[in-house]
Symmetry: C2
Subunit: 277 residues, 2 copies
């Protein structure tokens, strides 16, 4: 089921700038027991993205209403929300009056085996590099060719994620996840000043860690630093936390810190679902 500006439709105008230029933003949200989980955070991020791209933000109330309406009968699903700059303008120039397009769609929850969460996943390093772009870094926008080229690098079903570096050979994130590692009891994640998406789950894990008195450092790091970590994991709003058991030929144990964060996260998610936020 798809809602386009509040109406059931499966099509979009060809003139929509989302289609013409990737001129928009999106969110991918887990749905559990009829609730879009962490909906408030996702809508806040859409609003922040709209500010950065000068797209008029529809309204928190409207988006929350439509999201909850679409999800109410789903026990388990994925909700995708897209906002675009609508139609019009001349070429790249935006129209004088922007009518933001909003598209909310519901999709089956992916059938990832539970053992990914328990035993961890296997990853590789992608050859595709993330471009450096401070103007777009951090935003979950619709220009996703880099991720598509990176994800096209492997078809082996034993590999679950690809880790992407930027042009300076700094490790940034997975193709669809953010990345963390633990070294000497400190949690590290990539700085996203020049590339990458500032994921909702990444933000929750960082805030949760601070709350529990566990320090998190955002910095730039190389492949070698990552491979010498004690624990590594990736995260996003759909999979939660997946430990990494292997990157290329280097193996990792699923460590105590990762387990602890998984436990805290499950608890926090359950509170969000029962509280409807």
């Amino acid at each position: 089921m798809i809602l386009v500006n509040g109406e059931c439709r499966s099509h979009i105008e060809i003139s929509d700038r989302g289609f013409q230029y990737g001129d928009g933003l999106f969110e991918t949200i887990a749905v559990t027991n009829g609730q879009p989980v962490f909906i408030g955070r996702h809508i806040d991020r859409l609003e922040a993205g709209c500010r950065r791209l000068y797209i008029p933000f529809p309204s928190t109330e409207l988006l929350t209403f439509e999201a909850k309406k679409l999800c109410q009968h789903s026990s388990k699903a994925v909700l995708k929300m897209i906002l675009t700059r609508g139609s019009g303008g001349r070429g790249y120039r935006q129209p004088d009056v922007i009518q933001t397009t909003r598209v909310l769609s519901l999709h089956p929850f992916p059938d990832y085996p539970d053992i990914y969460k328990v035993q961890g996943i296997t990853a590789l390093f992608c050859d595709t590099r993330l471009g450096l772009n401070p103007g777009l870094a951090g935003i979950k926008h619709l220009n996703r060719l880099e991720q598509i080229l990176a994800r096209a690098e492997w078809t082996n079903p034993d590999i679950q994620e690809g880790i992407m570096l930027d042009m300076n050979e700094h490790v940034i994130e997975g193709t669809m996840t953010n990345l963390f590692y633990v070294k000497n009891d400190t949690l590290y994640t990539s700085s996203l000043a020049l590339a990458g998406v500032a994921g909702i789950m990444r933000g929750i894990i960082m805030a949760m860690s601070y709350d529990y008195g566990f320090s998190v450092i955002e910095h730039t790091f190389t492949k070698d630093e990552l491979l010498s970590a004690d624990e590594v994991f990736v995260c996003n709003s759909i999979v939660g936390i997946w430990p990494i058991k292997q990157i290329a030929t280097t193996c990792f144990s699923v460590g105590e810190r990762t387990r602890q964060l998984q436990t805290w996260l499950t608890q926090f998610q359950n509170e969000a679902i029962s509280g409807g936020f």
Copy 2:
């Protein structure tokens, strides 16, 4: 009028990866006397872009047929051709079988005054920087947020183009044009190894210059080098060659080399139109 996979339609599936991720390519083509000008070159570039993005290319014959059919009754127009990776796949992962979507649409020719060609245009330097991305550099793909943010920097109608630099402060191109300058009787243009679009008109101007024994150098250069040029011009398939008479506070004369290239280009375009290629 719009043709989607050969049928008259004004909509596209929301699931199309062009809309979901900007997963595709496009061409903007001048139409004169019922002919899409330089159609062969534009379709060749689409094919080259498809190879770089692993999108199955429909066929030169089919695209040429549809383009000519759509344009046959237009004396003056703009033809836009979009190819996307179609629908399907899981997230960024492309579908196992890709059904390329092709969208051909006809638009009014923009009403730029003739004096832009004769007396030149005024440009500014944009603050928005082009990301560095060798994997995508040169391709006319659908990920165009950088150009949109750059074009949103000015609304003053006396400014016709914005010149974009990359993150290393090298001058790359205009928001919708490629850039050339003349210094001591040599023609220079930006290297597009890390950023920018390798325009059809840029390629024609370079080839034409070589043919007439006039050397062209592709290199990296700064704002200061550009501002010390004898002549500067921008080009694309719709406007042809526009001399630049002013960038920020620096003025330029419309020089002999620019005039010569304009004359050669008009001649070459007329041959293309009468020859139907």
